[in-house]
Amino acid sequence: MLDALPLSALPASAEALRPAVRAFLDEALAGRPTDRLARSWMGFDAEFSRALAARGWVGLTLPRDYGGGGQDAFHRFVLAEELLARGAPVSAHWIADRQSGPLILKYGTEAQRRFFLPKICSGELFFCIGMSEPQSGSDLAGLRTRATRTAEGWVLKGQKLWTTNAHRAHYMIALVRTHGGPEDRHAGLSQVIVDLSLPGVTVRTIGDLAGDAHFNEVFFDEVQLPEDAIIGAEGEGWAQVTAELAYERSGPERIYGSIVLFDAWLAHLRCLPQVREADVALAGRLLAHLAPLREMSLALTAQLAAGASPVIEAALVKDLGTEFEQAVPNLLADALYAAPDDAPPEMLLRTLHYVLQVCPTFSLRGGTREILRGVIARGLGLR
């Protein structure tokens, strides 16, 4: 049976980071419209990411020896919380900071660490993650993209799909098959680092329903990869990817995705001469959901900091968190039109509709709701 997540507390040293981040954001985000801020960790701004890096806030948990901040997961939690609470556009460096950097540190060779980590921390290199394929979404083990050994290294052939930021990242860490076939499932998969500027790589952007373009189709046509493109052990890709999941699913980005909209709505209510009782209660209800979610996300961070890999608990918090993130725009959409004579301000409407349009993705990316609930069920001792 799944153990309860114990309440945790941020150490004072991590809290001490908060005022500096707030002061930086006050300046860096001044004048940005709410509908842009609402994009937050889906908002790409290379210059902003580099400004953060210049302050040492990219790769905060990577060792100083590799250009990182040498801080623990609690420091990163505070930083992430402040960035996300304000809707800072962190998408450019987010994947490298959250997953690629720690992955390279954990499984990479010394040469890979020396090459990649300092450039991640300085904001020079952005990463994307190649998982889904046309025939392989939730059922990832059925993927077909293949790296075949050659005399010089590897040759990569196949296709990735729905790869966020592939069109503006420098590298992709892709899960590919290095031996066996789709029938071998989890065996024979490996992670490779692909330089997206190599010949044979074609990236085609796919527009989304909100007018943005963040995900892509990526084609690999006989791409020649060097010997050291493999990250970690050959054939261990599935285990490595699974270990990453707790990082991917546990962070505050799974609870604060609609917070800019919620704050914009509250700011709107605070300007009204009178607030409907239903709106007051709705604000309180959402707050009552957010408070324990935040403590659960922090509790996961504490487990990660202690060296555990709370994959099941992370699935649970992500599912609850994304349910909250999706409830916010849907409930506000109703509340804002409950008095049809009072048209909400235009910027609030644009923000609302942006979040309404993209919120279905909250429970798709990083593992669908149905897959996560299956993971939780296994953790409960079912099956």
Binding site: M1, L2, A4, L5, P6, L7, A9, L10, A12, E15, A16, R18, P19, E81, E82, A85, Y256, I259, F262, D263, L266, L269, R270, V275, E277, D279, V280, A281, L282, A283, G284, R285, L287, A288, H289, L290, A291, P292, L293, R294, E295, M296, A299, L316, D319, L320, E370, L372, R373, G374, I376, A377, L380, G381, L382, R383
Partner: protein, 340 residues
């Protein structure tokens, strides 16, 4: 909290509070031998400053256990009341103490406390008068009328006048917040039990040739039940994080509102998975779900506390996350220190 202390408390409840005992107490409305055993165990003094820790965080795991065992007597309420009375240097009334969610003056100046949880068993009552006095009054001269809801130990308690030996407590003692927190914690414990029972049933019960827990539709439901149980527990635990016995009101609001919403969803799922057996008198699920349903309303429903939370949030001149950090979450003091 000493893990051994929690373990021995669990053993006490396992021995003293069998489902049969719960049914007997609920039927007869008498705490009897069960209370004597609890009284003798010494746990009621856990929050008395010089005897136990005197902090909510010490009582939290014990209150969860009370909820999980559907303990039919107000142990948690009495433990809290004794801590409060001891801190004020006051005497301890004998027997179970209940907390009144509200008190109104009725005709002739009598004081009526409606819907007191576990009121049927109480020998003393903590209440706030409409005039703002906070007292602990013995029930020797009060009229106690059970609610009539099947199996419920709630009662309306009426005092013709407050007894002369009622103990007076500081007028700023927030009984409603304390009652809300205690109820929320008991409910969080009940939700854990509900989850355990429902998972067990899903693994045991076979249909179409396999355990129903192997069906994805059932698994998805159980995952939601687990999520609700976890969230309710965290919401209650965050109130108990800091020292002292007086919960911060807005945090208690979060705990109670979240527990009530969780219970609504979780009870529906538990019953759906159990099928008809779950609504029978002889099967123990109903002991948990009836208590949870009743708890949703005790000391204010989700709707009541949502209003209070919403007013506080709207009155704040800061965005949600800073408000959470300053007002609602534990560690606020440490944060203020580092910011200053």
């Amino acid at each position: 909290m000493d893990a051994l202390l929690v373990e021995s408390f669990e053993r006490l409840l396992q021995g003293a509070c069998s489902p049969a005992t719960v049914r007997t107490v609920e039927r007869e409305g008498k705490a009897g031998a069960l209370w004597a055993e609890i009284e003798a165990s010494g746990y009621l003094h856990l929050l008395v400053p010089d005897e136990g820790g005197g902090a909510l965080r010490d009582s939290f795991p014990l209150w969860l256990a009370c909820g999980a065992h559907t303990l039919p007597v107000p142990l948690a309420q009495t433990m809290w009341a004794r801590g409060l009375l001891a801190a004020g240097g006051l005497a301890m009334p004998a027997g179970p103490i209940a907390i009144a969610p509200a008190a109104r003056r009725v005709e002739g100046g009598a004081l009526r406390c409606a819907g007191v949880p576990f009121g049927a068993l109480a020998q003393a009552l903590l209440l706030r008068t409409p005039e703002g006095e906070v007292v602990c009054a013995p029930l020797t001269a009060a009229t106690v009328q059970r609610s009539g809801v099947h199996g419920s130990l709630q009662a309306d308690i009426v005092f013709a006048s407050l007894p002369a030996d009622a103990l007076r407590l500081p007028t700023d003692t927030d009984l409603q917040a304390a009652g809300a927190l205690i109820t929320a914690t008991l409910m969080a414990g009940g939700l854990q039990r509900l989850l355990a029972m429902t998972v067990q049933y899903a693994n045991d019960r076979a249909q179409f040739g396999k355990a129903i827990g192997k069906f994805q539709a059932v698994q998805q439901q159980l995952a939601v039940l687990a999520e609700q149980a976890f969230a309710a527990r965290m919401a209650a635990e965050l109130v108990c994080a800091e020292a002292g016995v007086l919960p911060q009101r807005l945090r208690a609001a979060v705990a109670k509102a979240r527990a009530a919403e969780a219970a609504e969803k979780a009870v529906a799922i538990a019953h759906a998975v159990h099928g008809a057996i779950g609504v029978t008198a002889e099967y123990d699920l109903q002991l948990v779900t009836r208590r949870l349903q009743e708890g949703r309303g005790d000391f204010g429903s989700a709707g009541y506390w949502h209003g209070e939370l919403g007013r506080a949030l709207l009155a704040a001149d800061e965005p949600t996350v800073p408000f959470l950090l300053h007002t609602l979450l534990p560690g606020a003091a440490a944060r203020a220190e580092s910011a200053g």
